[in-house]
Symmetry: C2
Subunit: 230 residues, 2 copies
DNA sequence: TCGACTGCTGACAGTTTATGGCAGCAGCGT
DNA sequence: ACGCTGCTGCCATAAACTGTCAGCAGTCGA
């Protein structure tokens, strides 16, 4: 196994966590089954990776409360859930915890590749409680249209049951109250419009890209802040 | 740098993500600057770490959409924010995303040491929207009392403004609606009681531990499910 | 069916890296 | 002053990684 070292670092971290008081390097070396010299190197590695370990001469090591997550794989949706949840905490929880939520979000964003980081900016613009309705439309297809900046043709039914057909320029997915909402520029209305994804009856992804950048649209939409058409 | 290999694995993962279509090992080997044989070993390492990479003879490799987070350090509060957020998503979002939230939570819980995993079980029992009030009491002190199973003496003001002094056995912190709530066994009432942390005027952490295990109290409280006194 | 291409595994030697012991310096507490 | 401890450099040894070669199996197109 080529993971011997990584595992040992995790073990060291856990061992360090068990003790509340400072622990000497000799003890840690014995518990992880390694020489003192190597232990110092391991500590240095963990610190380099962001672990908040403090060592003081004559005292020992203490690990500031917290935890290091080993490398983990998250699916796109799990990532979205984490991001969405953190955003909710950041704006809805008590100030201290809200700050922690924002920090956690920033940490995750820092290690995300650029295209996924955009998801953090555009997804979950609004948050709210419960939602039970199933989307008729394929959300991942919508996401792809946003990513590729492609024109989307929608069959859309409003609350009166009227069905309209529109060509829109999708640029973001968000939540408002309990529904998922597609943010887009509507060619018909020549303005920003919001479409509940559960009311999209059918849609077609066009081959042509729309003539503007979605990031620009998002920025303009934010400044304009039009009310929900619904 | 002793992290050469880890970095290369991350690079490989990113490279793999860039391509949407299957990529042959030769290409990946060239891009990561490594021999084909080593690339196969790297792929195996990533798969062992949970990366969802699929290889098919005659085709190439494809990475299922998602992302691998490198090892990261989270503070206790950041972890709580992630857990709380995921829980909220798990119960409030649309079914598919809710499932993803639950999965993400389970993944995090799986790598957490036992004492922090208890936090997942006990914290954020209830979730709800916005909260703006400041806690008067020190939440981290409450958490410490829970962790150490210590008796807590509270100066508590109810909604009528009456102030009472109680000795309680704290065993969990949660949310209900928009307030943080301390779950405890109340010595005065000889029953489970809930205390809004923003109504705790003052508190004292006693030296003595209470005579029961907090996990047992939590279990009994769950089975009993008494209504909120508030 | 055949061949080209590709994923995958084993073996082995060369190279790199990690490890452990030793020495020395600096800070903390008694 | 002394012991304990964190921390760093050095270096020989041990371990791990890497590349090359070989072979087998599966996919696709001709």
């Amino acid at each position: 196994m080529p993971v011997a070292r990584s595992e040992r670092l995790l073990t060291l971290l856990q061992t360090l966590r068990r003790y509340r008081r400072p622990v000497t390097g000799i003890v840690l070396a014995a518990e992880t089954g390694v020489s003192l010299r190597t232990l110092y190197r391991d500590i240095a590695s963990l610190q380099a990776q962001g672990a908040m370990i403090e060592g003081e001469a004559g005292i020992g090591y203490v690990l500031k409360p917290g935890f290091m997550l080993p490398p983990m794989m998250f699916s796109e949706e799990e990532l979205e859930a984490l991001v969405l949840g953190s955003r909710w905490v950041a704006r809805a929880a008590e100030p201290r915890l809200a700050g922690a939520g924002a920090d956690a979000l920033a940490k995750i964003a820092a290690v995300l590749p650029a295209d996924l980081r955009e998801m953090i900016d555009s997804a979950a613009l609004f948050v709210g409680p419960k939602r039970r309705d199933e989307d008729k439309a394929d959300v991942s297809a919508i996401r792809r249209a946003i990513r590729l900046e492609r024109i989307l043709e929608l069959h859309y039914g409003d609350e009166q049951g009227r069905i309209s057909r529109r060509r829109v320029w999708p640029f973001a997915l968000g939540y408002f109250e309990h529904v998922r909402v597609l943010m887009a520029w509507c060619e018909l209305r020549q303005d920003f419009r919001h479409f509940r994804t559960d009311r999209i009856i059918d849609m077609t992804l066009h081959e042509v890209r729309y003539p503007r950048r979605r990031t620009v649209l998002l920025k303009e939409w934010r400044e304009q802040d039009v009310p929900l058409e619904n």
